[in-house]
């Protein structure tokens, strides 16, 4: 009898924590489900509940869901609360509130982001840039890039502009010559062929010129392919030829490389072009091998 009691007690000791964990997981899952369901609730019904969650000692995960619902509530009080949380919260919750401000796109809340950026650390600033990216506010990002003397900050802003495809704003930053490398990359990400072609034709800074030539390959397309083949043909230096070849490799323009191979009468260049076709895993290599074997027969 004593053994049975001991065994039962042991079972209870093992089972009780497992039951508590299962219950706690269920409660957490249910809370998240309840918050997500509130997205379809009348705003004036959802807001007080979300407010209470944000003031509670719930986990950051729960509060982050609450912030998303808050961003979707089209009431001035909701947007004011979101802006306040973005300003006063700390850590992940603050970053999330900032990002959610971008999702809401509310004009007043968005206006508050510049002050948060000014006083925030690097992580806060990244979250603000992300919010601007989400809200497609390229002017605000441009202002950050134009105002800063800090290279890291400039780079982060320019990268964001590139991701936004903010061609106009990036062009306005072209006079920041000390930051050309970052700008070239951003032009490529933004798909600004025109700016890259201008820089590729400008020999005043050979390093930037070479970067622009190979970055053209990132944009790709028939116009870029033609430009890269032309740059290779008319190159005044080996470096320019290499940059053009690299651009063609990035663009996957093996037809252009093959065309240049056929045109070239320079054995060293021919070898280089053939090697590039191999690197590109181009089927043209097999055509060339077949043609060479046919010639030998």
């Amino acid at each position: 009898m004593k053994n049975i009691v001991t065994t039962l007690f042991a079972c209870l000791l093992v089972a009780a924590p497992a039951t508590l964990v299962a219950q706690s997981n269920d409660t957490e899952e249910l809370k998240i489900a309840a918050l997500e369901a509130l997205i379809s609730a009348p705003p004036e019904r959802a807001l007080p509940i979300v407010q209470r969650v944000l003031k509670s000692d719930d986990s950051d995960e729960i509060k982050e869901r609450a912030l998303f619902i808050l961003s979707q509530i089209d009431l001035p009080e909701a947007q004011a609360l979101l802006a306040d949380t973005a300003r006063t919260a700390t850590g992940e919750l603050q970053f999330e509130a900032i990002r959610m401000t971008g999702i809401s796109g509310d004009t007043a809340a968005m206006a508050g982001l510049s002050a948060i950026y000014e006083t925030g650390n690097m992580e806060v600033r990244e979250a603000v840039l992300e919010a601007y990216l989400i809200a497609d506010d390229s002017d605000a990002v441009y202002q950050i890039a134009a105002d800063t003397e800090d290279p890291d900050e400039f780079e982060a802003a320019v990268e964001t502009l590139g991701a936004m495809g903010a061609t106009e704003q990036l062009r306005q930053l072209r006079d920041r010559t000390e930051m050309s490398e970052v700008l070239v990359e951003a032009y490529a990400i933004a798909g600004d062929v025109e700016s890259l072609q201008t820089l590729a034709a400008d020999a005043s800074d050979p390093e930037v010129q070479l970067e622009a030539i190979s970055a053209l390959g990132m944009v790709g397309g028939p116009d870029v392919n033609t430009t890269l083949v032309e740059i290779y043909r008319n190159a005044a230096s080996e470096d320019t030829r290499e940059a053009a070849l690299e651009g063609m490799m990035i663009a996957g323009h093996d037809e252009g490389v093959l065309q240049l191979f056929h045109e070239s009468e320079n054995p060293a260049q021919k070898r280089e072009l053939l090697e590039m076709l191999v690197v590109m895993d181009s089927d043209a290599v097999w055509d060339l091998i077949d043609a060479t074997l046919d010639e030998q027969q």
Binding site: L30, K31, A33, A37, A41, I49, R52, S56, D58, I62
Partner: protein, 202 residues
């Protein structure tokens, strides 16, 4: 004697619960008996909250009501309709095959339907009977459970039934989530008190 007295309130609650469960099961069984093979229809009091449930054709975001073909699985939509009343009736359709429901649809009374077979009309039923019967089909994360849940949500005073589904930990979370989704669209204080209570749990 003292021991019995202390247990009395618990016994009363248990007895009440037992009676409620038995009553609910007997109401569901009574409806089961009344349903014949093929399509059946009945009406219940419903909270439509300025919406119409029907099949629609959509053109440039504008819906045009069209007949729901019961022989096909035409998609049912809930459309905002400011001319519709907050409270009214809903028409339920259930296809019974080999004694079990295989399809359940909740539509607005004005929504036309078509079928090659006949429809057996049971007329207006008491909401509780209909709710108890539908509850029996909310068992797993599948289409039939989803459709039953949507039908339950449209019944007048369905909040308690939905709360029961949310609180039933033996049901899949997906179904409990859907019950919350339907509750959020209701306009009952009890529904939002329940949301508050869930979110206050530790």
């Amino acid at each position: 004697m003292t021991s019995f007295a202390s247990r009395l309130p618990r016994l009363v609650v248990l007895s009440a619960l037992f009676v409620a469960v038995v009553a609910s099961e007997s109401r569901a069984a009574a409806l089961d008996d009344a349903l014949g093979e093929g399509w059946n229809a009945w009406r219940v009091a419903a909270d439509m909250i300025r919406t119409t449930r029907c099949c629609y054709s959509w053109s440039i975001g504008q819906p045009t009501m069209q007949a729901c073909d019961l022989d096909r699985r035409t998609a049912v939509s809930v459309v905002q309709d400011n001319t519709a009343p907050d409270h009214g009736e809903m028409q339920l359709y259930a296809l019974i095959e080999s004694g079990r429901a295989t399809r359940i649809l909740a539509l607005s009374p004005q929504c036309p339907v078509s079928t090659m077979s006949g429809i057996s009309d049971l007329g207006l039923l008491e909401s509780g009977t209909s709710l108890d019967w539908l509850h029996g089909y909310v068992t797993r994360d599948d289409r039939l459970s989803e459709d039953s849940l949507a039908a339950i949500a449209a019944h007048s005073g369905s909040v308690n039934a939905l709360i029961g589904i949310v609180e039933n930990r033996s049901l899949p979370m997906g179904i409990r989530e859907q019950a919350l989704f339907w509750m959020a669209q209701s306009d009952y204080d009890e529904a939002f008190d329940f949301f508050t209570s869930i979110l206050a749990r530790n």
